[in-house]
């Protein structure tokens, strides 16, 4: 290992990053465009789009007020109502995915509103109640979009259409999930996956760089100098970690601009960062494997997708099955970052530590296998 050589190779890699249009696009512009596009489409609370949700309602109150609230819900174009006589049947249907949410209006709902209007300035005289809300945890859209909307309808029911600022209220909406749904947009839920998303594509950058250098005779030419293969691979790793650092910065900046708020503390941010770096290293390993299997640079791009697509569909914000997700490394990054950035989970929490350990093991294995396969099959074609 010679620092000067590694430095020279690293320097060359960094230059390719901004001088080769294809690399520049994949490494830098792509994350900006991606984050920007999703941010504009799903950010800022306008997460609903054109879809409608079936909401089950259990009215234990049966007063004019509860009927008025139900009326408000059914008037909203996003919701379709079905009513249940008891909450158990409703929860059952929710569990089976027949409805997206279940609202339970408590017995004292009407009485509570009456008590508010009787003496709206004196909270001590109010009857306080909680409207229970259950949301389908399996649906990102339902769990993020429905609670704020119901909250808003509840607000209208209580204070009327014209009310603008939220005064104190005797009626509370039960917390549907661990996440602070009032501020969580669809985009917020996607953001952790975006950090992983960008790093996944490093596989393609690496596979392409190595097959290009091989087909142009550059790997051979480097081999004719005292440079060792480990110096070449290490410099590629360093360069791509630098790329990942840049990507994290870009995704974070663009996402923040578009309203993403991280709940993480400094240690959480640091760990998130480390996890994306681990994913970047894993991507380098996959890139080496793809370059070894491919005969030409074009084939390398194709083979890279074998590593990219499953990670994209099962391990980022792109909806897919999370059972299969457990097999791909990006899943663990997204999972941990969701806990850290969205829920403000401590870095010592069980999920985060588990995710980190899986990633570290994954990283070691993929790098060793990648270097081994490349040394054996990848240097000459």
């Amino acid at each position: 290992m010679n620092i000067r050589r590694i430095n020279a190779l690293l320097n060359k890699e960094i230059k390719s990053l901004y001088r080769v249009p294809a690399t520049l696009f994949l490494a830098i512009l792509f994350p900006i465009v991606l984050t920007g596009a999703f941010g504009l489409a799903f950010g800022g609370g306008s997460a609903i789009g054109n879809s409608t949700y079936t909401v089950g309602i259990v009215d234990l109150d049966n007063t004019v007020w509860s009927e008025y609230f139900i009326g408000n819900i059914s008037e909203n174009e996003v919701f379709v109502n079905t009513s249940y006589s008891d909450s158990e049947t409703g929860e059952n249907d929710l569990a089976q995915g027949k409805i997206s949410a279940l609202i339970v209006i408590p017995t004292d709902f009407g009485a509570s509103i009456d008590s508010y209007w009787l003496n709206s300035t004196n909270p001590s005289t109010w009857t306080n109640v909680t409207v229970e809300l259950f949301v389908d945890q399996g649906s990102l859209i339902a769990s993020s979009a429905i609670p704020p909307l119901i909250q808003q309808l509840l607000f209208t029911t209580l204070y009327g259409e014209s009310a603008t600022n939220a005064p104190q209220s005797p009626i509370r909406l039960g917390n549907p999930a661990e996440v602070d749904s009032e501020h969580t947009t669809q985009f917020d839920l996607m953001a952790p996956g975006m950090f992983a998303f960008a790093a996944i594509f490093i596989t393609m950058i690496v596979a392409d760089a190595f097959t290009e250098q091989r087909s142009k005779g550059l790997l051979r030419r480097i081999q004719l100098t005292p440079t060792s293969p480990s110096e070449v691979i290490l410099s590629s790793m360093l360069a791509n970690m630098a790329t990942a650092i840049l990507q994290v910065g870009i995704v974070f900046a663009v996402a923040s601009l578009l309203g993403f708020k991280s709940q993480a503390e400094l240690t959480g941010l640091l760990l998130s960062f480390i996890m994306v770096m681990l994913l970047a290293l894993i991507s380098v390993g996959f890139g080496l494997i793809a370059a070894s299997l491919a005969k030409t640079p074009g084939a390398a791009t194709g083979i890279s997708f074998i590593f990219i697509l499953p990670q994209m569909f099962f391990g980022t914000f792109v909806p897919g099955s999370s059972d299969i997700g457990q097999l791909v490394p990006s899943y663990y990054v997204t999972d941990a970052l969701t806990s850290i950035l969205l829920r403000g989970a401590a870095i010592t929490s069980e999920t985060v530590i588990y995710d980190l350990l899986v990633l570290i093991v994954y990283c070691i294995v993929v790098i060793i296998v990648g270097i081994g396969i490349f040394a054996k099959f990848g240097r000459e074609k």
């Binding site: 020279a8 060359k12 230059k15 390719s16 030419r221 004719l224 440079t227």
Partner: protein, 246 residues
Amino acid sequence: MKQNGIKVQNLFKKFGDFTAVNDLSFEVKSGELFGLLGPNGAGKTTAISIMTGLLEPTSGTAFVGGFDIKSHINEIRKLIGVCPQEPAFYPYLTGRENVELFGNLHNVPKKVLKQRTEELLELVGLVEGATRRAGNYSGGMIRRISLVMALINDPEIAFLDEPTVAMDPQSRRATWGFVKNLKERNKTVILTTHYIEEAEALCDRVGIIDEGKIIALNTPQALMQEHNANDLEGVFLKITGKKIRE
């Protein structure tokens, strides 16, 4: 005294059934400019690839600078400079950056590298072109920058695989001067070519190679005398009944 010669003994290289190098044996003395002259497909590049450790021989051995290619390739790589037949360079780097990259890979001291880069660029007439990306170079410029990349470590033993192919006559003369300069500084040079004039003008001794075999080896003068020919083309014709270049 430094031992910078080359010794090749009974070298064979087979690709499947095809024998590309067929019982090749020769010696290059320290400080000698040795030419391998032969038609396309004769096995010149294959022989160089074996001597520089890019290909393993099917059988036989070779020593470069006194080191066995099989066991001491890392030592050999510190001594040699190789100009490949297909010039390899990074198109997104400038000419100078390509040269400096390879200087760094050879661990040439920083100061020396800077000075030598300028000298060599001047010698091949690429001082102005050196700031442009190599991807935009003409064929001849690519050849010249590739030569500079090969010699940036001022190697004791230089392998030049058809260094003047695709060069205009001026560049070719300049390159010849360049190669002669290496010899004057007592470097060992092995040069492959299928240009008769080049072999005659430059080489101390020429090995004529055909179908993987050395069919004649001597100084150009001695070869012409021996075979009663006016030039090396005639020598080749007399021995094989073919022309070097059809």
